[in-house]
Symmetry: C2
Amino acid sequence: MWRQLVSLLPSTLRPVGLLRSSSQQPRHLSTRRTPPPETITALKELLGDRLSTSPSVLEQHGTDESYHATTPPDAVAFVRSTQEVSEVIKVCAATSTPVIPFGSGTSIEGHISAVVGGVSVDLSGMNKILEVDRQNLSCKVEAGVTREQLNADLRATGLMFPVDPGANATIGGMVSTNASGTTTVRYGNMKTNVLSLTAVMADGRIIKTGSRARKSSAGYDLTRLLIGAEGTLAVVTEVELRLSGVPEAEKAMICSFNTMKDAIDTCTTIMQMGIPVARMEMMDENVVDAVNKYSKLNNPLRPSLIIEHHGSAAELEEQSRIVQEIASDFGAMDIEVASSAEDRKRLWSGRHSVWYAVLSQVPGSRGFSADVAVPFSKLADVVVATQQDLRDSDLFGTVVGHVGDSNFHVLIPFTDEDKEHLDRMKAFAHRLVNRALVNGGTCSGEHGIGIGKMDYVLIEHGEAVDVMRTIKEALDPKDIMNPGKIFYGSPRS
Amino acid sequence: MWRQLVSLLPSTLRPVGLLRSSSQQPRHLSTRRTPPPETITALKELLGDRLSTSPSVLEQHGTDESYHATTPPDAVAFVRSTQEVSEVIKVCAATSTPVIPFGSGTSIEGHISAVVGGVSVDLSGMNKILEVDRQNLSCKVEAGVTREQLNADLRATGLMFPVDPGANATIGGMVSTNASGTTTVRYGNMKTNVLSLTAVMADGRIIKTGSRARKSSAGYDLTRLLIGAEGTLAVVTEVELRLSGVPEAEKAMICSFNTMKDAIDTCTTIMQMGIPVARMEMMDENVVDAVNKYSKLNNPLRPSLIIEHHGSAAELEEQSRIVQEIASDFGAMDIEVASSAEDRKRLWSGRHSVWYAVLSQVPGSRGFSADVAVPFSKLADVVVATQQDLRDSDLFGTVVGHVGDSNFHVLIPFTDEDKEHLDRMKAFAHRLVNRALVNGGTCSGEHGIGIGKMDYVLIEHGEAVDVMRTIKEALDPKDIMNPGKIFYGSPRS
C-alpha cells in the first residue's frame, strides 16, 4: 500500500523526510532519558573502573563510520561476560535507561548513536574464541571477536569464516546488521552462517537460540529474528558460526565492457547458468578512474567486473573458461586472469582500495555509502538510471556492486561544510532508495536501517512494520534496547 | 538449564510426557472451542458451498501422515484468495474460533489437528503460479501450489525449485514447517529459498514480508519468523521463491561400508574438504534389507551411501573422482556410478522406495518417522547408539539420513493394535530425541513440532521458549492461530 502510494508520486515530490515530521515523532524520542545518578552508581558498583563517563570515551562511543550526526552516550560499560551484560541491563531497566550495544564502531547508519542518551555497552572486551569444532565446521565466539581476529586464529585449521563486509567489524555487530559482502554470492550472509546465539533480553534474561545442528524446524527462529535486529530486541553476547574449508585453489578474472548493461548482463547470465562464483564485483568507470588516480594505474575507463572462483584447480579451470566465454559474448575486453596469490592480490588491489581512492578525490572529505539491493531482472536498469541521476545532479559518485546478490553501493565523498552539496547528495540518496523500492528491491542490502533509513522501512514493509513494532513492544516494553533505531519507537511510549 | 537438567537424568528415568501433566496443560487446551452457530452462518454467507461441515470432509481435514491421534475440525473453509482468508480470520476472531491452515495433509507431527476444534482453512484451491521471473531466478505462487505442480510448470524454463521433502506437499505447508530434504545440502531449506511472503495475521491484517531482492538488512526478518511457525502466527497465502537452474549434468554414486562410522566419516571428510555435493544420503543395513525384499534386489547388507553431484560434465567428473577416493580410503565397497538419467533413476530407486519398502515388512502397518539433527562431530556416535538402542529395544527400525545436513530419520512400521509395541516405539523415540539434544542437536531437523514434540522444544530452547510465547501472545492474543502446536498455549489464556 505504502509502496504503491509512493510509486505513484513523481520522485521530485518525495523530499527527504516526507514521512517524518516533528509532530509524528513519538514523545519519548524527543525526551532525553539520561540515566539518573543511582543508575550510574549501581553500574560503578558492578563494574568499578570499567564504567566510564570520561568525555573522550563517551565521544568515541558516539562515533561510527556513518555520515549521520550521532549522539554520544552518558556512560560506557566495558563488559566482560554474558552475566555482566545481564546485570547491566537489569540495572538500566530499573530506571528505563537505554542500552546501546557497541562493537568496533564500524556501522554506517548511526546504529551506535545514543539518540535519547543512555549507556553504551562496549563488548570489545568479550573477545574470546571459545571453541573451534573442526569436525562440525563450526566455532563459538564472544560477540566482541572481530572478523580478522577470528580468521587469523583459524589459519592453522584449514577453516575460515567467509563473511566479509570490508570493515574489521565484530561478530556481534555483524550479527546485528545481518552483514554480508563480496563472498556472499557463494557463502551467504550472517543469516546463513550463524548457528546459534546467546543473547540478553530487555529484562536481563539470558537466552540461547538455535543449536549446533546445521538446520532445525524446532520452534520460532529467534536466531534469525535477532540477526539484523540492530540491538533493538536483545544484546547478542555469544555466537556459534558455521565455518567453511579454505578453498584448495582460487582464480580471479578482471575485464571491462563498453556499457554497464553488458557487464551486468554477463553476471545475470552466469547466475542463471548456475556457474559457481565466489565473488562477482562490479565497478563503474568512475571507480576505475578514482583507483587509477589513487594507485597511478592505467586501467581502461570502462565498467569492469572482477569474478573469482574457489574450488579445485580443475574446477576453476573450467569455471573460469566458461565465464570468460560468457563475458566475451557480451563484448568483454582486456580480460586478465590471475591464479597465484600474488597476482590475485594485484588484481583485487583496485577494488580493495576503492573507499580510499574515492575519498582521495575530494581532499578532507568523508564518505557516504548508499546501499540498496534489487531483483536481478531490474539491476541493469536501476544502475544505469542511478548513474544518469548522478550526472543530472552534478554529483561525483561511484558505483560498486556485489552483483551476484544484486546489491550495490554508491560512494560519494562529502564535507560537512558544503551544505549545498550535502543536500544534493541526500536528495540523490533518497531518489536511489525509492528507485530500488519501486523496482521491488530493498532499502538496505547489508548496512541496516539504524537512524538513517527509518522512513524507508515504512515504505518497504508497510503494515508489516506494525507487526515488527508489536514484537518490539512485547519483548522490550520499556523501549530501552537501542531505542530510536529501525522504526520510530513505540506508539505506546 | 533445561538441557543440563535433562542430560543429568539417566534416560530410563525420562518417560514420554515427563514435562506434560494434565495439571500443567493450560485450561484453554482442555476446553473445546467449537465455533458458535453465528460463526458458521457468517462463513457460509462468505463462502457459500465452499464452507463444508460434511463429516467426510471434516474427517479428511483431521487426517495427516503422522502417527498421532488427530482431531477433525468443526468446519472447512475452501478459500480462493488472500482477501478471503482475511475475511475468514476476521469472522473467526470475533468468536475466538481457532483457524487451522490445511495444505495437502502430508505433515507428520499432527500440525493439521483441530486440537480444541475450529475451522480448517483449506488452501489447496489457491493453486495459481502467479509469476515466473526467469531473469531474477524467482517465482511467485499461491500457497496451495504443490512442489510437483511447480516443477512441472517450470520444466520449459530451465529452472527448478529444488527443495524436496519427499511428499508432494504444498509450498505453504513447506513454508510452515521449514521443509528441507535430500537436496538441502546443496540448495538449502525453505529459509534459504523463500524471498518473501504474503500472510494474514490473527486480526485479518494482510502483510507482505521481505522483497524480491536476494538479501536485505531492512528490519526484523518476519519472513524467517513465519517460516517454521506452523501457522501459529499467521496464515501464509502467497510465496515468492528463489529458483535454481536445472544442472547441466548430474552424476550419482552408490557404495557400501563395513561400518556405519566409516560411511559417516566419509561424509564428514567430504564436507570438510568442501567438495560440492547435491545430495548425500545414508541408509543403514536394515533399509537395504527392506529395499532388497521389497524390490527383489540383492544389494550388500551393509551401511550404504548415495552421493550425487550437479554441475558441468567436467566438474562432475572431478568431484566424483575425489569422492570415490575418499570413500575408498574409508573402505567403500561395491562402488557403482551412474551418469545417464536412466541409470541414476535405477540407482536412486531403492532410496526413493524406502517408506513403502519398510512398511511392507509389517503388513497393515503405518509408518512412524523420527527426525533429529545433530552436530556433524556427533553424528556417527549418535547414529551408532541409536542402532544399538533399536536392538536393545527389540524394535525393527531403519535409519536413513540426509548426512550433509547431519539430519537423520528412523522409520518404524507400527500398528495401532499392538499397544505394547507402540509404547516401546514411543519410549525409543523419546530416548532418540534426548540423545540428539544432549549432543547439542535439535529435536526436529525438518518435520516440525506440531503436537508431537512440544516437550522437547522446552528442553531444547529453555528460556527462549518464553520469548517465543511472548511473540505468539503479542501477535495472536486470542490464541486462535493453530492453537496447541509448538508449545502449550499461552499462560494468559
